[in-house]
Chain length 283, copies 4
């Protein structure tokens, strides 16, 4: 397993897609040296974007979280979240009516930018649920799990309406050693209990990469060959990037520690084009 | 799909295993006519037992719930719950130490009958979690789902200890039209997030049927050919009974309504020996 | 469940995507009346394309199969097969070397259009397998299942190379009452045995719909709102179309017979925009 | 991860259950030193039995395979194969008629010991398939995979009869570096294509351990506490033994090499009571 120098790789591409957590920041803040990477990309005219399965907040609020760790050049227009795909789905498929959601008021941003009424599941009165057109799983916070997961289960049993999840991740880190179940795991549980097929948005699904690909064309008219996907997770960043036809870098600064990387690759067969310690440029 | 008369079938066996919910009682109380069935079995000297995936309460408290709907002959010794299997596992595999559990204080009965200390996950201090020897999923009530499911996830990530679930069901009815996610669905979610293999007790697993089979021998020394399993659910009662070598009756008074029975059987290939409207004897 | 008139629906769109089997033809030949549908679309200037998970033959040979049943206007440029996506993957991710495949010589078309060497798994000598860069599952015919599935399993265990399947379907009809396992089911089996993640192309995956969407733009510069997906299978045509943001028609002339349609929709929660007897225009 | 001396462990039990492949023998023959283990157990009066998911041959022929590698004391009565469970299922659930099977003529032993007619799927004439009462998956050899797997798929689609698999393993070793897909993987594929639930016999299922437990009582009237399960595979031998309440030894002479054992245990949470280099007694 050859560990490569990130700078020597990234310099060959015109656009870089970064995963967020484990690549640019972690529970402690900014990952060492990625501020110099951003400076380098700016200097070289290499485009960069953040592809994140985080639908808990708007791109504006997500960008704020980068500014707070000193990455001031990551502006909202550089952020592509799976919530934006959920929003696009709603725009095409739900013309009117109410959208019931699991998540915080912040996550409801992805519904409210459309001319749709967002209602937290917890506030839904079954008597008036008749005009709910879709259920959206946005975030694992902002609701009472016991009460509201059971409300969703019964809503989907009684009404034949679609359900979508704006983040297919199963868990996310909350501190150095602790994780929390993500909304993707809650959606899996509802699917397990009801048998209903929930539509998933987010890496590794191709739709995420196409959305990003089309998003960058006006600023950077590039081919897939010119884009590098950088991530820390084999099953989302690397699998999705590979399948879409991009070159991929797996970094060892997040979910996949150095001493397990080789074994994970062999066990799953998901193989990044390159492996680097991190996305930092260190000199 | 031939619908048979329950009395003409049950009269040919020496022992009957009944599923509980959907067969003997439902959200409204006792299922019509099963009191006469119990009278008939008593009169004929046919043994009968309740096999239930309900680990929320002791056999004594479960028996009380039958007495309240007028089935006074269903005494604790006639009840075989999946909690008893969990208890047996603990007796053989956990000689000492603390057992962390998800569930109500009533469900902790299955731990406390042993010389083990039962601690609700919610009260577990990570600093003293070092002497927890096993995690037991007992009931979906009695804890804060968000806080305590995440505590279990992290406990299983950090400690290499077994986890068992005393009820592999995914949902149970709470009223005529509503269900709730059962502890089996919560265990599936924890397995999905952690990758850890959780040991499942309860129908359709063979161990449940063997436990019952051995339990009845002192009173009724019978062969498998002499036992009839009566249930309303193809994937638990009928599949498990068939696999263990028992004849099976599917009743249409619970999970499997008459208009869907044929289709469910064809879709799954799980075929009961007989189909009856209910377990009632009606004349 | 309201059954709609196909003509009144299709007339509102600018482009139609048809699934192939069960929609335009079946084991007996052309589905009654779809020739008139094609005439109507031609007359109205509505674009139409066939989206098929059939990677067993080139678009040219697939078009021939339509000509033989009298649908002469379905030319190769109107056919979008999942094999074309597999080919695109190879073009981006495999620059040189050998491609080992399961399938007929006809299916190898999707490899040979690139500057890559296609080798049937059966002819692969393990001693020279070192320069195989990827395994492609193309078709269920053309090889000895026992010998060659085991060869693939061992190749993927020994070499850390990607594997892709150009058709994620599990089965396909071979006569009125018989089906055969498709290459997608064989890929699932290899994944089950090896634990290696196989990359899947074809409906319902979004990449198939995007490929088609981009393919039609030069001839028909349309928005998603202007495209109608017509299919007979909820889990591929309808789920994939819905997720991509298209309106969808489920026809009852194929996999989903009229007497089961409502139940399938309720069981899965996958809901087409419209339901029609078939894609025929009948007056 | 503490490696223990096998002799010091085994000496504390009254009965030992051995897995076969990877524990007593491998592709090269007998595993070094297990002949001395058998001598030791004989001398100490410790009972020993082989629990194997191999349903390809009768216990007599399986015993022969041990004799050929010099383990002459492993007589047919010491062998408990998953085929015997399949046979028991047929005895209770299929009173008459034809049994269609996938496997070699040798594997049909488990059907022919009953008063049932065994017919290879390949010889089955669909016109006379009406009196087939059950399908049994016995062995991966002895039939044309392509033709006969498709025949089974269509038979199960058309007839509502049960299907059982007498070996739930997915793969087995055929040489030092090669494996072959086992009949369990073929059964999984048929389940994947048809949606029909196939009944599985063999470790880790509890029924295998109960069968063995009851089998040994006449010779060795022991409690579960007195039995040691020795295996090389976490997901079958160790999981099944643990769940049934037995102490377990994982040996490093087979499927689970020493350098991966700790990681496999941590990833799955399946934890043996002890770990030993092998089941050999070496002085």
């Amino acid at each position: 397993m050859k560990i490569r120098n990130f700078k020597s790789i990234v310099s060959k591409y015109k656009v870089v897609f970064f995963d967020a957590f484990g690549v640019l920041k972690n529970a402690h803040g900014r990952i060492d040296g990625v501020d110099r990477t951003i400076d380098y990309l700016n200097a070289q005219g290499i485009g960069y974007y953040v592809l994140t399965n985080d639908a808990s907040r708007s791109p504006e609020l997500l960008a704020d979280s980068y500014h707070r760790v000193g990455l001031h050049d990551i502006t909202p227009d550089k952020i592509i979240s799976s919530g934006m795909l959920a929003s696009e789905y709603l725009r095409y498929k739900v013309k009117k009516g109410k959208v019931a959601y699991l998540g915080t008021p912040n996550s409801a941003h992805y519904i409210e930018t459309l001319s749709l009424t967002a209602i937290p599941i917890g506030e839904l009165d079954p008597a008036t649920a008749e005009d709910v057109e879709v259920v959206v799983f946005l975030d694992d916070e902002g609701f009472d799990w016991n009460r509201d997961i059971n409300k969703v289960i019964n809503l989907l049993r009684h009404r034949n309406i679609p359900a979508i999840v704006a983040n297919s991740d199963k868990a996310y880190p909350v501190s150095k050693n602790e994780v929390a179940a993500a909304i993707g795991a809650i959606a899996n549980m509802v699917e397990d209990v009801t048998g209903k097929r929930i539509i998933r948005f987010g890496k590794p699904d191709a739709q995420m990469f196409i959305y990003a690909y089309e998003h960058v064309q006006p600023m950077h008219p590039v081919d897939k060959n010119d884009i590098l996907m950088v991530g820390d997770t084999l099953g989302t960043d690397i699998l999705g990037g590979n399948k879409f036809g991009l070159d991929t870098v797996m970094v060892l600064s997040g979910n996949t520690p150095a001493h397990l990387a080789k074994q994970y690759i062999q066990a799953t067969g998901i193989t990044p084009t390159y492996i680097c310690e991190s996305a930092a440029i260190t000199e």
